[in-house]
């Protein structure tokens, strides 16, 4: 109980002293009795309510004090109070105009501090605080399956599993699965690629959306024999159908099928996925086609994510007798935000801490400035005090000045912050789900206002308290007052240096990490590599032979385009998504249970692929024209990681025989390993490797593929020629999703780079501010000690001694501060390592570099005022005094 009460007393300090003296005990007693009669210890909810209660009413009490001067008898009207306040503001403005350098310095410091906070908070607000744009968004959860044994955190959902979950769960109001795809459509005779979302008929219930026109598809359309129907997204209704209100009932041709349009979706539907069409899933739970679907559910009221997960696991595992694989797979439930934005949480947290530190340093500088100025204002304040101004009145005047400065600075900072965050958000917009919005809202403004007031209190209250504490102008010795002030300033400098040091370490580590990532060998040649998608409709390309024939002719035609060095066809190119298979090795020892069976990345490629994409071989050879032919042998190429995970028991992986699947059938189709390639960073430079294989296109002729072009020339010039060449072969085939590989590789690191760049930028600002603080405080301290230094010089002290003493004094503060900062960084290494991939959080290079950098810059900042002191003319100084 004592501990709780101490905590509450701490909160109560927010009240003005008068109110606390009168009612503090009453509030404490009430608190004690509230806690005592509660069942169980007070939880977070209780403390939040209590803190909010205290904060709100303490604030109101301060405002009352402010406007009435704290005297209940001075029952001023609101108008009179405003007049006094306005008078204070005008007086403050006059004071500040008279000292423009001082005022500008504070405004700039404040602007720097607020700008970073505004920019970063805008991003954090958009990502983590703003409610999702759906009804009752807290009930929405992401569904998925996990399979640790296959080394897959997210397996995606199999339709038959979903079908069981939906039927047997008791914790969900509704759930749906969906998949995204694209199809070739003909609109007004021109081939168009339309993107679509395929979903079960429950999706409108889950999202609680109603079509703007027509109706949503129902269960009768959502099975394999259902009518083919579609809803148009608002955008594609406007773009492709001119927003025609009579569009219902019209049909469009998609992949050769006639589809009836039964509705138009509202704009909110785009938040889930930015596609042209929504189609019913039309899946059959009896056909197990593996995994591949995303899921979204709406929890029943009062159900927690954990309860929902346990419920689904029970339902899922109950099917193990029928489907043995459910032993390996398990359902997982996450909040939507956690699933899609969880990766950004740590980085954003670091940025918030960084900007808070910058603001703190700026405040410390301003406070030091105000301390220094407080001394020069002593005569003015003493005079006003002698003329009858109350302590409270003087304190109020000083706080008003701080507030005027803080608000001006914050205004500038807000503008810079909004502009800066625009610059930041624009290139990153594609990295976030559609429902994330960075619009400025009330929460953002409240945050900036709160930060401003807090900062003003930090740097304004200290001098104000000191001013109001000075009862008379003539009491106390000036010397002790100034040495106390110097000590306080020394403390501020130490704190600034400590914060800046820690930030610099984090910035240095993340910069080093990103630089190292940029140098990671992707395992292929990204420069000059262009890729795009093409999809052959099954009506006109019925069998593998037709598709192969097209692929061969197409490849030859593409290679005739000037600027194209080579062309290849594959199921996917690097950064092109995951397609997991399992393989068994002929004669391999059985895998131990706990060893797991890591999923293998499967790629289907034509023989030209390795050369076009620039994948090197460690052993063996690429495919030749016989591999995979019906009269030839079945072949496969594996990567180095596959050799490590699956073929480690062999001396030579070449010649090993593999079969696809998890269980050997009676007549397995063996494939012979003909080559081993170097590892290709298929998932991005900052991601782990998985075992991977390549199979010849001849063995598995695809209908949808990526085309990779190795270019000599300008990609922009080649793309129109590619479209023309494609149209020559088949004028109904759209070329889509055209990407330059080097850009894609960079984009994959964009967020990481942006976070690192920002931390470096903020830590640089912190360094500059801290150094400016050192310079200012040492200058001030030297100025205060002019007389002492003058006497020492007159008594014969050598210039070097004075110089050395001043520098030593300053560097002691710096050493103390940076030691604290380094210790903090080492202690926080566990957290810091969360944002690093390839660099140790305790990498000594960074720590040494930061210490050297800070030491050098701080030494200069110390030396300049020290030199000025040493060059004093002792006679002049003493005459002045």
């Amino acid at each position: 109980m004592d501990r709780l009460l101490r905590r509450y007393r701490w909160l109560l300090r927010l009240f003005p002293a008068d109110f606390r003296a009168r009612h503090g005990r009453g509030m404490e007693q009430t608190f004690v009795e509230m806690v005592r009669t509660r069942r169980g210890r007070p939880g977070l909810r209780f403390w939040l309510a209590l803190a909010w209660d205290t904060l709100r009413h303490a604030g109101a009490e301060w405002i009352d004090e402010w406007t009435t001067g704290g005297r209940p008898d001075a029952a001023r009207t609101r108008g009179e109070a405003m007049a006094v306040l306005w008078g204070d503001v005008r007086y403050a403005l006059r004071q500040l105009v008279r000292q423009p350098v001082y005022a500008m310095t504070v405004v700039v410091l404040m602007a720097v501090g607020v700008a970073g906070n505004a920019a970063v908070f805008r991003v954090v607000n958009g990502l983590f605080l703003r409610p999702l744009p759906f009804e009752e968004p807290d009930q929405l959860v992401d569904l998925d399956e996990t399979a640790p044994q296959w080394d897959l955190e997210f397996l995606s959902i199999a339709y038959r599993d979903f079908d069981v979950w939906r039927a047997d769960n008791s914790t969900f109001e509704s759930m749906a699965v969906l998949d995204q795809g694209g199809g070739n459509a003909l609109i007004d005779g021109a081939p168009v690629r339309l993107s679509y979302l395929q979903a079960t008929h429950d999706l409108d219930d889950v999202l609680r959306i109603d079509p703007e026109l027509g109706r949503f598809f129902g269960a009768e359309e959502d099975h394999p024999d259902g009518d083919r129907v579609a809803l148009l997204a608002k955008g594609s209704w406007e773009q492709h159908f001119g927003a025609d209100p009579d569009v219902l009932g019209r049909t469009l041709s998609l992949n050769g099928f006639a589809i009836e349009i039964i509705g138009v979706l509202p704009e909110e539907a785009d938040f889930l996925a930015d596609v042209d069409l929504w189609l019913p899933m039309r899946a059959d739970p009896a056909d197990f086609e593996g995994w591949g679907l995303s899921g979204i559910g709406r929890l029943a009221e009062g159900v927690s994510i954990e309860q929902a997960r346990e419920d689904l696991i029970a339902v899922h595992k109950a099917r193990i007798p029928e489907w043995e694989v459910n032993e390996i797979s398990s359902p997982v439930v996450h909040s939507l935000r956690e699933r899609y934005l969880g990766d950004y949480r740590l980085g954003s947290g670091f940025l918030l801490v960084a900007v808070a530190a910058v603001l703190l340093i700026a405040c410390a500088n301003i406070a030091a400035l105000m301390f220094a100025r407080g001394l020069s204002r002593t005569p003015e304040l003493s005079l006003r005090s002698a003329l009858g101004a109350s302590r409270r009145r003087l304190a109020r005047q000083l706080i008003t000045e701080s507030l005027v400065l803080a608000v001006s600075g914050a205004g500038v900072g807000l503008a810079i912050g909004v502009w800066g965050s625009d610059m930041l958000i624009r290139p990153l917009a594609d990295q976030f789900p559609r429902w994330v919005s960075f619009e400025l809202d009330a929460r953002f403004l409240a945050f900036v206002a709160g930060v401003t007031v807090l900062a003003a209190m930090l740097f304004g209250l200290l001098p104000a308290v000191r001013a109001s504490g000075r009862r008379s102008a003539f009491s106390g010795s000036r010397a002790t007052a100034s040495s106390a002030r110097r000590r306080a300033m020394g403390g501020l400098v130490t704190g600034e240096v400590a914060l800046a040091t820690t930030l610099l370490v984090v910035g240095g580590l993340s910069a080093l990490d990103v630089r190292q990532l940029g140098r990671v060998d992707p395992g292929f040649r990204a420069d000059g590599l262009l890729s795009f998608s093409l999809s052959l409709p099954s009506q006109r390309y019925e069998d593998g032979a037709a598709r192969l024939a097209f692929a061969e002719r197409y490849q030859e035609a593409l290679e005739r385009i000037p600027g194209v060095r080579s062309a290849a066809v594959a199921s996917s190119v690097p950064l092109g998504g995951h397609w997991g298979w399992f393989f068994l090795v002929d004669g391999a020892p059985a895998r131990a249970e706990e060893e797991g069976n890591p999923v293998v990345l499967n790629r289907i490629v034509d023989p030209a692929y390795f050369n076009a994409v620039g994948v090197d071989f460690v052993a063996g050879r690429p495919f030749d024209d016989f591999d995979g032919r019906e009269d030839g042998s079945r072949a496969i190429v594996v990567n180095e990681t596959f050799v490590r995970t699956h073929l480690a028991h062999l001396d030579d992986p070449i010649g090993a025989r593999l079969a696809a699947g998890t269980e050997l059938g009676p007549d397995p189709e063996w494939m012979t390993v003909v080559g081993v390639t170097r590892d290709v960073k298929h998932y991005g430079l900052d991601r782990e490797m998985r075992p991977g294989v390549y199979q010849p296109l001849r063995q598995l002729p695809l209908a949808s593929f990526r085309v990779a072009l190795a270019l000599d020339g300008d990609p922009a010039a080649v793309v129109p020629a590619v479209r023309a060449t494609t149209a020559e072969l088949d004028r109904e085939l759209p070329v889509f999703a055209v990407n330059r590989m080097s850009e894609q590789l960079d984009d994959a690191l964009l967020t990481r780079r942006a976070i690192s760049w920002l931390i470096v930028a903020f830590s640089t600002v912190a360094l500059i501010l801290a150094v400016a603080g050192i310079y200012g405080v040492i200058s001030y301290s030297v100025g205060q000690r002019t007389k002492e230094i003058g006497i020492r010089l007159a008594m014969g002290a050598r210039t070097e001694d004075v110089l050395g003493q001043v520098v030593r004094q300053g560097m002691t503060l710096v050493a103390l501060g940076s030691a604290m900062g380094l210790v903090a960084a080492v202690a926080g290494a566990g957290i810091i390592s969360g944002i690093l991939v390839g660099v140790e959080a305790r990498d000594p290079r960074v720590y040494v570099a930061v210490t050297l950098l800070l030491g050098t810059v701080a030494a200069v900042a110390n030396y300049l005022p020290a030199r000025r002191a040493a060059r004093l003319d002792p006679a002049g100084v003493l005459r002045r005094e």
């Binding site: 404490e28 709100r56 009413h57």
Partner: protein, 106 residues
């Protein structure tokens, strides 16, 4: 002067004190009872309200009633004559409003 109509928390505090003299936490409980747990006066809100009411001479600090255990940490409050009058005025005004709604619906 506290403007009329009284804020809900002021009215409820006056109402609670009209039955008997109470200390801070007891006022909180009484108001919870009166409002079917709708209004919880957290300490800061409670004491700021008490301060305002005391300033306006509607309530005053008082001794602990004889039938309660003497706990010096508790601050007791009683309704002043002005407070009683104000509560009555306020209640009549509310009653008039309630009647007006009844007539409008009839």
């Amino acid at each position: 002067m506290i403007p009329r109509p009284l804020k809900t928390q002021y009215f409820q505090i006056l109402l609670a004190l009209s039955r008997r003299d109470l200390h801070g936490y007891a006022i909180q409980r009484a108001v919870l009872d009166q409002t079917d747990d709708q209004l919880k006066l957290w300490p800061a809100m409670l004491y700021r309200s008490l301060a305002k009411l005391e300033e306006a001479d509607l309530i005053a600090e008082t001794e602990a009633p004889k039938d309660e255990p003497d706990d010096e940490r508790r601050q007791y409050y009683r309704l002043t004559e002005a407070g009683r009058g104000r509560l009555r005025d306020e209640a009549e005004m509310l009653a008039r409003w309630v009647r007006a709604v009844g007539e409008a619906e009839a």
